[in-house]
Every structure is written in C-alpha cells, then in structure tokens.
Symmetry: C2
Subunit: 356 residues, 2 copies
C-alpha cells in the first residue's frame, strides 16, 4: 500500500488502527516494511536426487506456509502471530521434521521441541521432549505468555499444557511410514557400524533414493522470522530432532540463543542444522551480537556465523530479518528449504544452494 507523500501519516495510522481493531497507542507505520522468512530444514538436498514431483510438493508447502504467515502480517497482526501461523502450517505438513512427520527417536516415537521469542520484549518460551502436543510452537508461546518461565521439558511441559486446555493427540498422529523406514535404516546402519560416527557417515552407503530420506536425520527443522507493520520482530523454531536419538537428546531448536533469538535492537533469527554445533556457537545470538557490537549488516553477520559453524565441522543454515526488512538465508549445506516475502513485493521460494 503506497500513500501519496502529502497524506497525513497520523491520520492514516489512526484510520488503519480503527479499521483493524488495533490499539491506538501502537498503530502501524505506513512506512514500515514488513515481511517474513521461513525455513523447512537444511542439509544434503541435491537437485539430482529429488523427483520433480517431490520438489513441486515442497515448493507448494513452503509457499503456503510463507503466505499463511504473510497474510497475518498484511492484516496488521503481530510478528508473533505470523511466526506461529507459518510454523503451525509446517508442523501440520508431513513433509517437514516437526509436528506431524517428525522423525522417530530410538524408542520409535516422536519427541518434539520448539521455541519462540518476541523481539519487542525479549520474552521467550520453549518446550523440549513433548510427545502429545499437536503444535509444539503454540505450547512454546504459551510458556512465554502464560508462565513466568522460559523452558519446560518432557512430561512437565505436557502437564502445563493440560492446565491450559491444550489439544492432545496420540503419538501415532505424528508418525509417518517414511519416518518408520528411516528409523529402521538408521538402526540397521548403527548396528552394522557399531560407531556413533556412523550416523553421520552412512550417507555414502545409501542408494540415491535413500539419500534424500537419510539427510533428514541430521537437519530437519522448521522455522520462521517475521517483521510486522509495528516494527516488531519475532522468531520461532520447531523440530522432531534427530532420527534414532537417545537419552533425551536436545538439539538447538528449543535453546534460546542457539536455535532461536529475537531482539528489536538487532534482528530475529531461526536456525536449522547439526544442532550440537549451533549450541556450541550460540548461533542465533551470535548473529545478533555482531549487529549490536560491530554494526555488521544482518546478511554478513549470518554468513560469518555460518562460516564459524563450518570451521568447527558442522553444517546447516539460518534465516534472519531485521527491522528494516533486510533478510538473510545463509547455509553451508547443499540445500535449505526456504522462502521469504516482503511488503515491498520481493519474495522467493527456494530449495537448492547456488552451486546446484
């Protein structure tokens, strides 16, 4: 929506506030660019190993998730609402390792983690190891908004959810045939190699078709970062973690500062990748810190942090957005499911890296 330059901004803002039911004290700015970035995981995503049909399904799902979040922003609602809308869509899709379609742990069940952060207040919420919450990102938001805490884990997180009347689903709701086959393969490979490192080597033993499935073991995550018409940033991340995971393993997705970070002073970031490396480098906060302490632009900061991940031996990617609507989609893996859309009209949905 472009206004003639002589149009009184205060009046326009007041009018829009009335029209959308927003509080008058926080009207949208007509000059505020808004938009969002999403990811659906990064990894060994190779063009020659994905059928045209599967690629089309991913592009379609990414576009729908992105546009579900964008619609929230376009009607003047908050970046938090947009993040939840986009992530909920991806949690509900069996294509991504979050919510329905999440990978199975060593016990054959889906164990879900999620986190969310509000850049305006730096409030944050996270859950780790939940088994029956249809949309973990919504529970993370409830931890942020309806408790005085940031992180709840395991059965305790579900007890909290019950006090709020959350929808519970049987764990089978999340499980798909594809993920069961993936777990079988991971366990066979583990048994054959008798080495923890095998989980990261086995890609070389797989057929072309298997490669695609196996990749998801390490890198499945979904995330969204958004900037709303009020100039507020938010970030969220949701995942099923790693196939065949044991010992209540938690990766970076529910860790504020690692998988998710947002501050209106800098940027909103969501990460996806080999979680252990992202925790060790506080990836999401590291990008914000470069902006805060040495005025590095967002995209350059994201590239620098992903380069650190690579130097340490890890891989994956991040998405980010700042208050001016600059976006970052940086990754050192062959591909990352990703998309963005801005009120300027700019937008894209991509899967493969530039080298492909």
């Amino acid at each position: 929506m472009k206004l003639p330059s002589a149009f009184p901004l205060a009046l326009a803002a007041a009018g829009l506030a009335t029209a959308t039911g927003l509080r008058a004290e926080n009207p949208p700015s007509m000059n505020q660019t808004y938009g969002l970035v999403i990811h659906g995981g990064a990894g060994v995503i190779l063009r020659q190993e994905m059928s045209a049909e599967l690629e089309a399904r991913y592009r379609d799902a990414l576009t729908q998730a992105r546009d579900a979040g964008y619609a929230v922003l376009a009607r003047g609602d908050s970046s938090l609402d947009a993040v939840v809308a986009a992530i909920t869509f991806m949690e509900d899709s069996p294509l991504f390792n979050a919510g329905r379609g999440a990978v199975l742990n060593a016990d054959g069940i889906c164990e879900l983690d999620a986190s969310i952060m509000d850049g305006r207040t730096q409030a944050a919420g996270a859950v780790a190891g939940v088994h029956h919450i249809k949309n973990p990102i919504r529970l993370a938001r409830a931890v942020m908004e309806k408790s005085e805490h940031v992180m709840f884990t395991g059965d305790g997180a579900e007890t909290f959810a019950r006090t709020l009347g959350f929808e519970f689903v049987p764990n089978e709701y999340f499980q798909t045939e594809l993920r069961r086959r993936q777990l079988e393969k991971a366990q066979q490979l583990e048994a054959g190699k008798k080495s923890a490192a095998a989980l990261h080597e086995r890609v070389t033993f797989a057929t072309v078709d298997d490669n695609y499935l196996i990749d998801q073991i390490k890198h499945g995550t979904v995330g969204c970062v958004a900037l709303d018409q009020h100039g507020n940033l938010a970030a969220g991340t949701s995942t099923g973690g790693m196939t065949n995971k044991k010992f209540g393993r938690v990766g970076d997705s529910p860790i504020i500062g690692a998988g998710t970070y947002a501050s209106n002073a800098t940027c909103a970031v969501s990460a996806t990748g080999w979680g252990e490396f992202f925790i060790r480098l506080s990836v999401a906060h590291d990008i914000a810190a470069q902006m805060e302490y040495r005025q590095t632009p967002l995209a350059a900061a994201a590239d620098a942090t992903i380069a650190k991940v690579g130097k340490l031996g890890g891989d994956g990617g991040v998405i980010g957005i700042d208050r001016a609507g600059h976006v970052a989609m940086s990754f050192n893996s062959p591909g990352m499911y990703r998309g963005y859309r801005l009120s300027t009209g700019a937008g894209a949905v991509e899967i493969f890296g530039p080298a492909q």
Copy 2:
C-alpha cells in the same frame, strides 16, 4: 614460580613436563598466569541477616572449593579438571543449591541441571532434570566427552549415565531438612497468594531468619571458570534450580550460551541468578561477544551484560576469566558467594556486595 630471565624456556617447559607427566607437545608456559573464579549463587544475601557462624561456614566452604580447583591447576592439569574439582566440592556441600542440599521441586524431590564447556575446542556438555546422579557436573562432562551430543534431559540422561557406570544415589541423598522447610514455606505462600508472582514477592512476608532461606529459591547455583597453565579456558555450572519448580522447568544453568560459555578466543563465564532473564539475554555468550566484536575488556563486558539483566527486571551475577588471567565477578543482587585465586598470588573470598 619465577625464573631468571636468562633461563631457557624450552628447557624449563620440557623439564616441568617430565616432572608432572604432561605430554611434551603441550607443555605449560612459564609465563602463563593461571587461576580460577568460583561462585556459589547470587541473591538477597544481607550481612545483617546472616549469623557470624553461618558466614564463617560459607567462607570456609568457598575457600575449600576454590583451593580444590586451584590445586588442580597448580599441578599443571587442565582447566576442565579444575572446574570439575571445584564444582564437585560445592555439589557435595549441603550449603549450596547443587547436588546435596539442592532445593526441592513441587513434587518434593531434587531435580538437577549442569553444564560444562571447554574453551580450547568449544566442546560442551549439559544435563537437565536428573534425579540420581551424585555429581551432575561429571555427567555433563561425560556428555561432552563420551557422546557426540551436547544436551541430554531427564531419564534419558540417566540411562546414558548408566551405560558409563556412573554412581547412582537415591534422591534422598540430595534432600536436606532446610530445603524441605523451604519448600513448605514456598508452597504455603503460593497457596495463600494464588499468584505465580507471589514466589518473587514473598520475601517481604518473611521473618529476618526466613529471608535467608527464601532467597535461595531464586538464586542458588554454583559455578567455576578456570584458566590453566596451557592457556586453556573452561567453564561449568550446576544447580538444583528453583524451589517448588513445576513442569520440568529448566533455568539457564544447563543452557550453553546462557549459564555457561567458554572460548579461548575470549573468556570463560558461569552465571547465577534469575535464570529466565539469563536465558533471554544469552548472558554468558553476550559477554564473550562483547570481547570478540568490540574488544570490550572482560570486567566491563560482564558489567554491561548484568546491567542489561537489571534493565529487563532480572537479577543475579556472573563470574569470568580470560586468557590473560583477568577476572570478573559482576552482580546486581545484594550479594554473591564468590572467590578467586590466581598464580600471581591475588585472591579473595567474598559474600556481600560493595554497598554492605
């Protein structure tokens, strides 16, 4: 140990390596300052509310913990070993909210979290919500060194411990009479106020004697940061969390980047305080980031980050050490149990803040 300046350093290093059994490829430098800093929690620790006898007990325990870690450094062993030695001492002491003497959760049991990080490799390990591991800091180290993961939670973390032959103790080992009374009080106050916020207000309802106990609800944690003769940094943190905690609540202590961080490029940090605020600000990593990205000295960086915590409404403190042996002990609460000791001869053990 001061050497005459003409003394050949390579020879001295080789000699010392032989004497202490260190590997020749990593000899200690004669010029490397070494030392450590510890904390035993920050909070409303007031001189007029603590008896001389209790103060003496705390000073004695802090001194012993600090010197246990220092002895490790003095014989040329690693900063990781020193961190584990100092924290193990405090976990074993009933005076601190970690290991034995940990606070009780809403179910009346002790639920323990710990994390550790190696500044040389930026490897990290953490456990959250364990109930039977005598020294959680040792299990965090095992996650770092004997798994390819960073964080294990709940029963899964204990299953991992069992595979390694860890010592298990009944939960009653950790529980003390003082903590049971503290839980009763917290639950009575909670029931009376019927407000989550009451947990942070009730200090005003307590007697002078109770104040001391109640304080520990928010702020009990132990931690250590160390610099060894090889110039390597390490950090660790251990806690029982918050009295009467529910829903598998996890604070900052097991969160790498929030409660614990270490990188040889910058510093080692351990935090203690109102964990939610420390997570939201990625406190430990924020201090390292200021050193890395704007060359802020350690102590000033620690002060700046604690000021941010205060601005957001939180309180607590941090300890830090850098490769030159600069130390930081910054807090915005009335007191913080703390101590440090350097190979230069500098050292102290303190409890109260400068305003007291």
